[in-house]
């Protein structure tokens, strides 16, 4: 039978994270959030609830935002994953959504921020020029306890603008 089996030990899984391929041997129950944070030490992805509600752990799986706390890493063999670290600009500085968060004061403690950045990055790929209502709707699956969201909604609009501007 061609099925992959893992018992108490580990399963081999290949993940491409922010363009870099990693072959990992992970226990089957390893959540993607933990694999990213503790095995790959990409701690930008945060964990706020571990039951799928807060969105802090959101990463892009093959371009689509998903809750990394609700995924077993082993199930994602072969997937391309983008984390907040992968939303930086080519030179390692702030990417457009990150820049917009900075300009609009869309973060305070910053704990929820990575989940917003990834979610908005994917959203703007689909809808490059959202209205304010669409922007608000787009971030309505992520919790933030600090900002009251007003500036996050503004940051979505600003990020859309920044992405339209030609890069110098």
């Amino acid at each position: 039978m061609s099925d992959v089996v893992s018992t108490g030990s580990t399963t081999r899984v290949s993940l491409t994270v922010n363009g870099v391929r990693h072959d990992l041997d992970l226990p089957a129950r390893r959540l993607l959030s933990d694999a990213l944070r503790h095995d790959l030490r990409l701690t930008g992805t945060h964990v706020g609830c571990e039951h799928g509600v807060c969105g802090a752990c959101t990463v892009l799986v093959d371009g689509a935002p998903m809750r990394s706390c609700l995924l077993f890493a082993v199930s994602l063999d072969g997937a391309e994953i983008t984390t907040v670290e992968g939303c930086r600009s080519a030179d390692g500085g702030m990417g457009p959504v990150q820049q917009a968060f900075h300009e609009c004061h869309a973060l305070q403690c910053g704990f929820c921020t990575p989940g917003f950045i990834t979610t908005i990055t994917a959203f703007l790929d689909d809808n490059p020029a959202p209205t304010r209502d669409e922007a608000r709707e787009a971030v309505s699956g992520n919790l933030c306890r600090c900002t009251g969201y007003v500036n996050i909604v503004s940051a979505v609009e600003r990020a859309a603008e920044l992405r339209r501007e030609p890069t110098p």
């Binding site: 039978m1 992959v4 799928g52 969105g55 199930s75």
Partner: protein, 294 residues
């Protein structure tokens, strides 16, 4: 909140999946689809399946097919895929109308529509959609395959008609008669939450725009989706749905309970109000289908 250990299987075909489920049925083997319901249950250690059979790598299940009878959704079609499928929307707008209210887009990117049906949460929108459209679920097990109609599939809260070793490979949402409009109306505490009450409505009008039939499927007011045929409330001549009569019919069918978000009395009230709203919207849509056909 970390899930307990389990043995992981990654079958490539439905047959392998079924064999694995069958072989490990005694150790609580379960299908892993989108995991959007199962993983949080495991992380809270409310579920501890000894084996998980991951169907995410099974070929041929990520399908949305529009046929003459309806829309057939494969077990790996994510909610978002079904929601955004143009042909499915054209055939059955109710799918998109309801899916837009299932959780958040991020959850819909992973959670499967079939998984949601199998999970059988009485607050899950798609259970009412399947039920009101008189759809069915296709199951493949060690002893072959079978189809179970919605009326038999939803057994109780979180309980659906499928054997431990069966994989639900698809669900078919049946096309209603020509001239049918649909709507899905719900009220949730927060945007994206499971609803306190929700109503899927179908209203059919004839070529003269007179209502010939009306049906609703309700969530969160019973042990499973509650389908109510509003036929008796359709007043022949005026061409509409009689509201007080519809309320009576809904009232007789539902059995809501108190919980921390809403009392049973309030849910009952919502069932009335939302039925009225959903039926009105569906009626409007039904007229629209006739107008565009004309």
């Amino acid at each position: 909140m970390k899930p307990p250990a389990f043995t992981y299987h990654r079958p490539a075909t439905v047959q392998e999946a079924v064999q694995l489920l069958d072989a490990h049925a005694g150790e609580g083997a379960k299908v892993l689809a989108g995991g959007q319901s199962l993983v949080p249950l495991m992380s809270m250690r409310l579920a501890a399946p000894g084996h998980l059979v991951d169907i995410n790598h099974v070929a041929g299940l990520d399908t949305v097919e529009v046929t003459s009878t309806g829309v057939r959704v494969g077990a790996l079609a994510r909610h978002s895929r079904v929601e955004h499928d143009a042909a499915a929307f054209a055939a059955l707008p109710l799918l998109r109308q309801a899916l837009g209210q299932v959780a958040h887009p991020t959850i819909r990117n992973r959670g499967t529509t079939v998984g949601s049906l199998v999970h059988g949460d009485p607050a899950a929108e798609m259970t009412a959609v399947l039920a009101v459209l008189d759809g069915e679920v296709e199951l493949v097990g060690p002893h072959g395959s079978r189809s179970v109609g919605a009326a038999d599939f939803f057994v109780g809260p979180m309980e659906t008609e499928h054997a431990d070793a069966e994989v639900a490979v698809a669900a078919t949402f049946r096309r209603p008669p020509a001239g049918t409009g649909s709507a899905f109306v719900e009220l949730a505490r927060r945007h994206g939450d499971y609803a306190m009450c929700g109503v899927a409505a179908l209203v059919t009008v004839d070529a003269d725009l007179a209502v010939t039939g009306a049906r609703v499927g309700l969530i969160s007011v019973g042990a499973g989706p509650v389908v109510v045929d509003l036929g008796p409330a359709v007043s022949g001549s005026g061409g509409g749905v009689d509201t007080p009569r519809a309320r009576e019919l809904v009232d007789a069918a539902i059995d809501p309970e108190d919980d921390i978000h809403a009392t049973a009395t309030y849910r009952r009230h919502l069932a009335h109000v939302l039925t009225e709203r959903a039926v009105a919207q569906a009626h409007e849509a039904a007229r629209g289908t006739r107008r565009s056909a004309a």
